[in-house]
Symmetry: C2
Subunit: 336 residues, 2 copies
DNA sequence: ATTGCAACCGGCAACGATTGCGTAGATTTT
DNA sequence: AAAATCTACGCAATCGTTGCCGGTTGCAAT
C-alpha cells in the first residue's frame, strides 16, 4: 500500500507536536530556528510532501482546474489545452483534462466529478448534444467559477472566449466566390452549438453581399459533428446528386472537413469539379488531398485567454459581476 | 464560495447524527426503513453527493487513475486514452489525463501530482527525454500500482503492453523492398525509447533477409521526436544530399512521418523518386500527399489492455508478483 | 419480574494538515 | 520581589466521512 510520510510521522519521530512541525515547515515566526532546522532536515530526509487531499478538504481549494472538451483527438482542442496548460502551470495550478465525446451524459458525469474533486474552477467547451444547461447553472449559482471557450452558451453569465466565427465563415465563403464558384453548399455542424449558427450567418452574409441567391437545399447538417463518417458521406453524396448541383462546399467544422475530404476521395470526385473550404485546426491540413482552403482558429491563444479569465475569477477577493466575452479573429489560409 | 450539502447538513436538518445519516444513505442494515426514507428523500432534495475528497482522505482510495502521455495531439495517444476511458468508466473509475510534451521535468511534476492526489494507479507512456527512472521506481516500491504502455521501460517490474514494433518495422521495410527500392533510409526517433530500438532492429532484419547491405549513413535520429519540424527537414535534406542517395525512407515514428511528408513537399521532391513508409496512427494518413504506406498500432486496444492490467493490480487483495508483457501486432496499410 | 436480544441510533476517533488559543518557562521590567 | 512581557511550543477544533463501540428502547422468553 502506497503510504507517504505525514506530518504526524515527523512529529512522532522528533517528539514534537504536529502543530509545531506544520509551523516549522511553513517557516512560522513562532518556531525557534533550531527546531525549524531539525524539522526541515528530517522532512527532506523522508521526502515529505504535503498531502493535497487533506489540504483540499480543509481549505476547499485544490489549485487545480478542470477542463472539459468534446474530443481530445480534435486538434483544435488539444491545441487549446496546450495554451491552458502553459499559463496554468506558470501560475501554480494543475489541470485535470476530461473529454465527453460530444455526449451530454458524459459531460454531466465529468463536470460533477470535477466539481466534487473540488477543482477551483472549470473551463468548458460544450458538447454538441447538450441542450439542458441546468447542471451547469446550478454549479455556477453555487459559486463554482466557470469560463466557456469556443462553444459558448448564452444561458450563463460569466467570462467567455470564442472565435469570430461569423467573419471566418464569411471569409471562407467569399474566397470560394472569388475563385469563380456560384453554387456553394454548406456542410454544417450540430445546430445546438453557438458556433454553428454564427458560421451559418457568415456564409449567408457572404452570399448576399455577392448577390448569390441562398438555396436551402444546399445546406446539410451533420448533427453528429463528424464523429460519424457515414453521416458526412451520405450528406456529400446527397448534395452532389441534387439538381443544379453545387460546384463548391463550405464546411463549418473541423472534423466534418476531414470527413468531407475523405468522402470526395471515396466517391472519386474530380477536385477541380468541386472546390472546398472549411474550418480546420488540423496540423496536417496543408498536406491533405484533395486540398482545401481553411479557416484556422487561434486555439492556443484562446486557451490562454480562457484560463486567465478563470484565474481572475478564482483569485478575486470579491465577487465579480462585470463579465466580458472575448472574440478572437481567425486566419484564412488559401490553397492553390 | 461553492459549497455543496454535506452529511452534517442533513443530520442537522433532520435532527439525526451524522453517523446515522451516513448509514442510512449507504443502506446500512441497522437503520429503520422509515429513517432511511426520510434521509434519502432529503438527500435527493438538497442534491447531496458524497465528497470524494473526504473519502479519499479516509479510505486512501479515490477510484481515479492517472494517465501520463507525451502528447495529446498525437493520435496514437488520444486513441489509447479513448480505450482506457472506455473500460475505466465501465468499472467505476475516473481518469485524470496529463501530458508531458516529452519533457522529463513535466513528467516528474505530473507523476508526483497524480500520486499525491492519491490516484489508485498510474498508466504511463514514457517521455522521450527521460533517462532517470528513480522517481517512478520510488513510487512503485512504495506500492503505487503502475502499468506501462507503448513506450515501456525494463527498469521496473510490472505489467506492460506495447506493440510488436520489430515486426511492424520489418513489414514496412519489406514493403519498400518489394516495391523495388534498395536504398532505404531510416528516420528514427529518440534513441532512449524502447520502441526506437525495436523498430531499428526490424528495419535491419528486413534489409538482411533481402540481402541489402546496411548503410549507417542512411540512418538519422530525430531526438526531438518530430516535435521540432526543422530537425526533421534538416535530416531529410541531409539524407537526400548524400552520395548514392536513398530511393526510399522508412520512418519509425508517427509525428516524424508527418514532418517528413511536409519536408518532402516543401523541398519539392517528386513522390515517385522517393517512396516512404512509416509508423502512423493519424486518422487522416490515407488523405496525405505525398502518400505513404503506414504501420498502424492497435492504440485503442492497447489502452484497454493497459487499464485492465492496472485494475487487476489495484483491486488485487494480495500483492502480485507474476507480471506479463503483452505485445500487440500491427497492421500494415499499403498505399499505391 | 428479570433477563436476553434484537433493532435502532448516537458519540468518538481518525484520515492529514492548519490555526486560534492557551500556557509553561524564561526573561525583562517596574 | 512582584508583575509584565516574550518565546516556543501543545491542545483542540476543523474539513466530510465512516468504523467501532456504546447506549437506549421495545418485545419476547424465561
Amino acid at each position: 500500500m502506497y503510504k507517504p510520510a505525514t506530518i504526524k510521522d515527523i512529529a512522532l519521530a522528533l517528539k514534537l507536536s504536529p502543530s509545531t512541525v506544520s509551523r516549522a515547515l511553513r517557516d512560522g515566526y513562532e518556531i525557534s530556528t533550531a527546531t525549524k532546522k531539525v524539522v526541515m532536515e528530517y522532512a527532506k530526509k523522508v521526502n515529505y510532501q504535503s498531502n493535497p487531499i487533506a489540504l483540499s478538504l480543509k481549505n476547499r481549494r485544490s489549485y487545480s482546474i478542470g477542463i472539459v472538451v468534446p474530443k481530445l483527438a480534435n486538434s483544435f482542442f488539444s491545441q487549446a489545452i496546450a495554451g491552458i496548460e502553459s499559463i496554468a502551470y506558470e501560475r501554480g495550478y494543475h489541470t485535470i483534462i476530461t473529454q465527453t465525446h460530444d455526449s451530454s451524459e458524459r459531460e454531466l458525469i465529468n463536470v460533477n466529478h470535477l466539481a466534487q474533486r473540488s477543482v477551483d474552477g472549470l473551463l468548458i467547451s460544450m458538447s454538441a448534444g447538450t441542450s439542458d444547461y441546468g447542471f451547469l447553472k446550478q454549479l455556477h449559482n453555487d459559486g463554482l467559477p466557470i469560463v466557456f471557450f469556443d462553444r459558448i452558451i448564452d444561458e450563463i453569465e460569466t467570462f467567455k472566449v470564442t472565435s469570430d466565427n461569423f467573419s471566418g465563415a464569411y471569409k471562407a465563403t467569399e474566397s470560394l466566390i472569388k475563385s469563380g464558384r456560384k453554387k456553394i453548399a454548406l456542410l454544417s455542424n450540430a445546430p445546438q452549438l453557438s458556433i454553428t449558427n454564427e458560421r451559418l450567418s457568415g456564409y449567408m452574409k457572404a452570399l448576399a453581399d455577392y448577390h448569390i441567391p441562398f438555396r436551402a437545399e444546399l445546406i446539410r447538417n451533420c448533427s453528429k459533428g463528424g464523429n460519424d463518417y457515414q453521416e458526412v458521406e451520405d450528406a456529400v453524396k446527397d448534395l452532389l446528386a441534387t439538381p443544379n448541383k453545387p460546384d463548391a462546399i463550405f464546411i463549418s467544422s473541423d472534423r466534418i472537413s476531414i470527413s468531407c475530404i475523405r468522402a470526395l476521395k471515396n466517391l472519386n470526385f474530380d477536385p477541380k469539379e468541386i472546390a472546398i473550404a472549411g474550418f480546420s485546426n488540423s496540423d496536417v491540413v496543408d498536406l491533405l488531398h484533395p486540398s482545401l482552403s481553411y479557416v484556422k482558429q487561434k486555439s492556443f491563444e484562446m486557451g490562454q485567454i480562457a484560463v486567465e479569465m478563470l484565474l481572475r475569477l478564482i483569485e478575486s477577493k470579491y465577487p465579480i459581476t462585470e463579465f466580458e466575452t472575448r472574440v478572437l479573429d481567425t486566419e484564412l489560409h488559401l490553397i492553390k
